[in-house]
């Protein structure tokens, strides 16, 4: 079999090493040249209880989402994994502990739940691990060795990744984990493979530096660094924290500065201050943090200060579901705050997009002198994908519209009304650039003004200058995929949900349904013309979103006046391809019947 499409779930309790095992698995497979997409679910609690799930999809062809049905389930803790056994397809495999220490009540063991069409592989994980390492701590690594033997996974890549993972610890730790892996590998030799799970050769050989595997948040960090971020202020919040954590390691190496502030309000205030001072400045937060930041965001809009705010959405409102994904902060990102405070909002749809949008956000902020919000969600922030990066830096180091030499005696007009509505920008200390800046409405000099005419003209300036963002180079503000011309069903999607939408579209096409999908990356200003063109081609339009009412659907129908079919889920989990496909089928059928 040449083509590979293998999805493995590892499920355990917090502290079992579930996420670590998934991490090693995906890195090893990426190292061996496979395409990988992976996503972890973990509890809000740190350790001791709560379920962890690592899902890893390994393919040779490009895919855009996780599958609903997995091929293999590895249970490190049956009390959590049992509820996932139904996710394994027929003739797939379920691997579980068959020598637990504790006495189990009826039905508490995985063997009571494996479906008749699935293949059970009971493995004495703990015993195998103890024999190899004198401890049972590495049984998560034992199961990786077991998988490697059963499905021909690349052993050398696993050895390398395990050694990498433990290189900061005493050598004995890495060696012990390698032994655990090898013991699992050897143990699997006694098993006859009865499932029909297969792994073909990788489609390409990884070329080292260009092909990397990272999360959406990791890509954001890389984009920030490549775009020359100068300052970052942040306050930790799931699922955005890892952006700050990684930047804290990397920014000092590049001579840039990062400060953890006392709260989100301070973070955005400092970010705007740094942006005002001419630094490429950013902060990162989640929905609750953005709710605190919107007042200062308005200052950024009014004072026309470039800055970037990364927002990784989670289940809300309020503290909500910190470790579950959702797409319910679109309204807040686009409209949040007092007054007509239009800003640029971008929502990448995959990990590569996170990199591109992060870097481009600094260009846009500088060029259009405005805050730029990058809207991610937990699923995108935390999921891993293999990404091929260009060797060349694709970001412009300076997009600022500088101050022209002033005539002697002429006052500098920081908010000059120009043809493109973008004013010459001076940073503090720049010769001839002295000016007033305020959150009050102001005139071209920056001095407070409440005249009706000035407020009207300045409002128009702040809105219309952003129109240029729709034509910013090397940025797909929206893009259509699938069938060209008139189609039965179009899928309009944003953020992480677009991956599932694209796979649903391809599945629908395979069933003979004429179908297209459009991703909307720029949510503000909304690229109305291309979206209108797309809608005009679609007999039916479906908008799948991870929020309750359909915030993109409202945004688009509000601006284009066309009713749209909605598919909304607030389960805390990513949308399923099958759910979208089912709706597409229903819409296509309804149209055909009509």
């Amino acid at each position: 079999m040449d083509s590979t499409d293998l999805q493995i779930i590892i499920c355990g309790s917090a502290g079992d090493g579930t996420i670590a095992a998934g991490d090693i698995l995906k890195r090893a497979m990426a190292r061996a040249g496979y395409k990988v997409i992976a996503f972890d679910l973990y509890p809000a609690e740190i350790r001791g209880f709560g379920k962890c799930v690592a899902r890893v999809r390994v393919t040779t062809e490009q895919v855009y989402s996780l599958k609903r049905r997995s091929d293999v389930l590895v249970s490190l803790d049956d009390s959590h994994a049992i509820e996932h056994v139904g996710e394994v397809r027929d003739f797939g495999a379920v691997i579980f502990e068959n020598a637990p220490i504790a006495r189990l009540g009826e039905g508490r063991h995985m063997s009571a739940h494996v479906k008749p069409g699935q293949i059970p592989y009971g493995l004495a994980q703990r015993e195998v691990c103890e024999r190899a390492t004198s401890s049972s701590r590495s049984r998560n690594i034992v199961v990786l060795g077991f998988l490697a033997q059963m499905y021909g996974l690349p052993v050398a890549a696993f050895h390398e990744i395990i050694a990498d993972k433990f290189k900061t610890k005493a050598a004995v730790v890495g060696e012990s984990n390698i032994r655990a892996f090898d013991a699992g590998f050897e143990a699997a030799g006694a098993y006859f493979k009865l499932d029909d799970v297969t792994l073909g050769p990788p489609s390409h050989v990884a070329e080292g530096a260009d092909t990397v595997m990272m999360t959406g948040n990791g890509a954001v960090v890389q984009g920030c660094l490549d775009a020359g971020i100068g300052t970052f202020f942040g306050y930790p919040i799931t699922p955005a924290t890892t952006i700050m954590e990684r930047l804290a390691v990397e920014m000092p190496k590049a001579g840039a500065r990062l400060l953890q502030t006392e709260d989100e309000i301070s973070a955005i205030a400092a970010t705007i201050g740094a942006g005002y001072a001419g630094s490429r400045a950013a902060t990162a937060t989640s929905g609750p943090g953005l709710a605190l930041m919107v007042e200062m965001l308005g200052l950024g809009v009014m004072a026309e200060v470039p800055c970037v705010i990364f927002v990784s959405q989670r289940g809300g409102p309020s503290t909500g579901m910190p470790t579950k994904t959702e797409q319910s902060d679109l309204n807040l990102a686009v409209f949040g705050g007092a007054g007509d405070a239009q800003r640029i909002v971008l929502a990448p749809t995959n990990v590569e997009g996170c990199y591109r949008c992060a870097g481009k956000a600094f260009e846009l902020a500088e060029k259009f002198q405005t805050p730029v919000v990058i809207l991610l969600d937990l699923y995108l922030s935390n999921r891993y994908e293999t990404v091929v990066f260009s060797k060349d830096n694709i970001f412009e180091p300076n997009c600022s519209k500088g101050v022209k030499t002033q005539d002697p005696g002429q006052a500098y007009q920081r908010f000059q009304l120009t043809d493109d509505f973008v004013s010459p920008r001076a940073v503090p200390g720049e010769a001839g650039g002295m000016h007033t800046v305020t959150g009050l409405e102001h005139n071209e000099l920056g001095r407070p003004s409440d005249s009706a005419e000035m407020h009207t003209r300045m409002s128009a300036k702040r809105h219309r200058k952003l129109e240029g963002a729709l034509a910013h180079p090397d940025l797909n503000i929206c893009k259509r995929f699938g069938d060209e011309g008139p189609v039965d069903v179009g899928i309009l999607a944003w953020g992480s949900t677009f991956g599932e939408s694209l796979e649903a579209m391809m599945a629908a096409q395979a069933e003979g349904i004429r179908c297209s999908a459009m991703k909307v990356v720029m949510l503000s200003p909304l690229p109305v013309d291309p979206i209108a063109g797309f809608l005009a081609d679609c007999k039916e339009v479906l908008v799948p979103e991870l929020n309750y009412e359909g915030q993109l659907a409202n945004l688009v129908s509000g601006q284009l006046g066309r009713p749209l079919s909605r598919l909304n889920r607030v389960t805390g989990a990513p949308m399923q391809v099958e759910e979208i496909l089912e709706q597409v089928r229903a819409l296509a059928k309804g149209r055909a019947a009509a």
Binding site: D90, N98, A102, R103, H109, V114, P116, P120, G122, L194
Partner: protein, 343 residues
């Protein structure tokens, strides 16, 4: 029956599967749990030789599709080994440390291949044929046209031998006391049956006692059998076929009477009123013979599963052996056995 009575069937062979069918039929509301050490649902072991006829996907020898168990509301627990059955408490314990309760249990674990004492030192050089996995292992070990050396040659082995010969392999039979098991063939009758095997194409090695089994020298088949008279037989795979020994180890502390198999009355009930047995695992009281005895063959085993299930659900029927138990030569002079007959 009381609603929700929990019937447990240990073993999912012919007897166990038939018992499940009857239990469901007679007690639609009961709970049925089937337990097996196998990783596969019920397949017909009589079909295992088909591996050599090109059937390499276990799904092709399943008796019922996997969906059957859900449709019949049967909980199928595979890869699960029972370590104890407590008939007094009505509980059984698994090797994985789980305990479950039952109202009635029927033991249908059959038997595993018997290995005589003088062959146990060579266990690592021999291959069994009790499961799909072991059949596939033999298939993978055998080169095209390769030779299987069968030690003993019970009727399970001889059935495989027929298939091997028909599919281009070669078979050597090393005759011992277990040849033709479970049939008891009188000494003066053995010759004609061995001749019939030779007519089939089996090389029969009789007379000399086996001294050892060892790995074959480089360039020769993988196994070498050395006999006391100094003769040697080479083969790619060595397979013992010396009858079955009932799988009853897990019942040793259950409190029921055991001789070689579980001792049951003609109604197939053990000495514990909650525990029944069916198939190759049990010895049934025969008033005629004034002894407990085994009954073999697909038809008998299936009938035992049926009788046990009927009696577990209120009947009081004795098991009656089905058909002749004698080995014979058919009109063409070919060896034939009721043991080989199955649906």
């Amino acid at each position: 029956m009381a609603k929700g009575t929990h019937h447990v069937i240990i073993g999912i062979g012919i007897a166990g599967n038939r018992a499940a069918e009857i239990l469901r039929e007679r007690d639609p509301d009961c709970r049925i749990t089937m337990i097996t050490m196998s990783r596969l649902p019920f397949y017909n072991r009589y079909d295992l030789p088909k591996v050599f006829r090109g059937v390499r996907d276990w799904r092709e020898i399943l008796v019922d599709p996997p969906a059957h168990y859900d449709k019949s509301h049967i909980t199928l627990r595979r890869d699960s080994r029972v370590t104890n059955v407590d008939g007094q408490r009505g509980t059984l314990t698994f090797a994985h440390n789980e305990e479950i309760g039952f109202d009635r249990v029927v033991v249908c674990t059959g038997g595993s291949g018997y290995l005589p004492e003088d062959l146990t030192d060579y266990r690592h050089l021999m291959n069994g044929f009790a499961t799909f996995e072991s059949a596939m292992t033999v298939y993978e070990l055998l080169p095209e046209g390769g030779r299987v050396v069968m030690l003993g040659g019970d009727m399970i082995g001889l059935d495989l031998a027929r298939t091997l010969l028909e599919t281009g392999y070669r078979v050597t039979l090393v005759v011992n006391d277990y040849t033709f098991w479970p049939h008891r063939v009188a000494a003066d009758q053995r010759g004609k049956y061995l001749e019939a095997l030779e007519r089939l194409g089996i090389e029969v090695h009789a007379g000399a006692k086996l001294e050892s089994v060892k790995e074959g020298p480089k360039g020769m088949p993988a196994r070498c059998l050395v006999f006391e008279d100094g003769s040697e037989v080479f083969g790619d795979v060595v397979m013992p076929f010396c009858g079955l020994v009932p799988s009853v180890e897990f019942m040793l502390s259950s409190g029921v009477d055991i001789e070689r198999g579980l001792l049951v009355n003609p109604q197939l009930r053990t000495t514990n009123e909650r525990i029944w047995a069916a198939g190759d695992v049990c010895q049934i009281w025969s008033a005629e013979e004034n002894a407990y005895r085994f009954y073999y063959g697909w038809n008998n085993v299936r009938a035992m599963g049926e009788v046990a299930a009927r009696n577990m659900t209120g009947e009081d029927e004795p098991f009656v052996s089905i058909g002749d138990e004698e080995l014979y030569l058919d009109k063409g002079g070919h060896i034939a056995s009721p043991f080989w007959q199955h649906d």
